[in-house]
Symmetry: C2
Subunit: 181 residues, 2 copies
């Protein structure tokens, strides 16, 4: 029915709307959307606000080349996810292959973990995030800017939930430019 596929990486206590908006938005565009989490956290995750989502895949079941785009929602999910190297592998693959990546709030923590393996993933790149991890991104070599949605090559970042419409608009413009949609 569709050959567009999106991956969302998260963990327990994700920020509900930052996961659910892109989850439904990409479905609206005809994507099949899969949620990846570590099996340690089980096959159903609960967000900070109590929404539950089914985990479709464990990280070792993911073939990144089968997916067009990666989404990294915020909340506490990224901190829980980044401690597993096999999850960071996936983020690293998308960034090194210049595939579209959308990250919001604490989502960029996963980019920092990937940048420890390959500093060019963040070095000198314009990004934003929740202000509380701004200094981590600067420490990792990124240029942090205070804007609702920041595009740098394959990467589209945003700060907090009110940025969602700007974030997704820029991300979808990128998908159009890359002929993914």
């Amino acid at each position: 029915m569709t050959d567009r596929r999106a991956l969302i990486i998260t963990g327990p206590l994700f920020e509900d709307i930052e996961l659910l908006y892109p989850y439904y938005r990409l479905q609206e565009l005809g994507f099949e959307v899969h949620i990846v989490s570590h099996p340690k956290y089980g096959f159903e995750l609960t967000g900070k606000h109590g929404y539950k989502v089914k985990v479709d895949l464990q990280p070792n079941q993911v073939e990144p080349g089968d997916y067009d785009v990666l989404v990294l929602p915020g909340g506490k999910g990224p901190e829980r996810a980044r401690v597993f190297p096999e999850i960071v592998d996936i983020v690293q693959w998308f960034m090194e292959n210049n595939k579209p990546v959308a990250a919001i709030c604490h989502g960029p923590q996963l980019l920092i973990s990937a940048s420890l393996r390959n500093p060019s993933i963040l070095k000198g790149r314009r990004v934003t995030s929740t202000p509380s991890i701004r200094d981590d991104l600067i420490a990792a070599g990124a240029e942090w800017v205070d804007e609702p949605a920041v595009v740098d090559g394959n990467l589209v970042t945003a700060r907090l939930p009110p940025d969602i419409p700007f974030w997704m608009k820029k991300f979808i413009e990128l998908l159009r430019k890359q002929n993914i949609i």
Copy 2:
């Protein structure tokens, strides 16, 4: 900056994602989106899952003709809102003027209230909703169908959160057809 305007009618304990998705989605399309609730509930509403939204307008401040579309999210908001005639006035105006209305889950309870004043608002019209208010819609004369998103003229209804991508896709198709976007 924009001359497209959308109204969302709700009340306390709205279903968070059913309000937030269209709220951000319509902003993504360039709409200015206003939330209307009765002043009895204060100027900030909390959803069932704890998300807070600012109330922009009281019902007696709304000039319906200034708005292009109306959205009726679900949760407990619609039951709390429908008891105020000045809120039902707004719903009635949109339905009688064939302006686009999107309703999901318990949102159609507000349509039932409006149909008590003008039965043609629901009589013989194809709609859906959360199954728990199916019988109320049938009692009000509607033809209830079990589909993710149901379009009948100006009205686009859906059942539950997983229907959101289908609901919004159909609603946006309607906005395109009517040259609103």
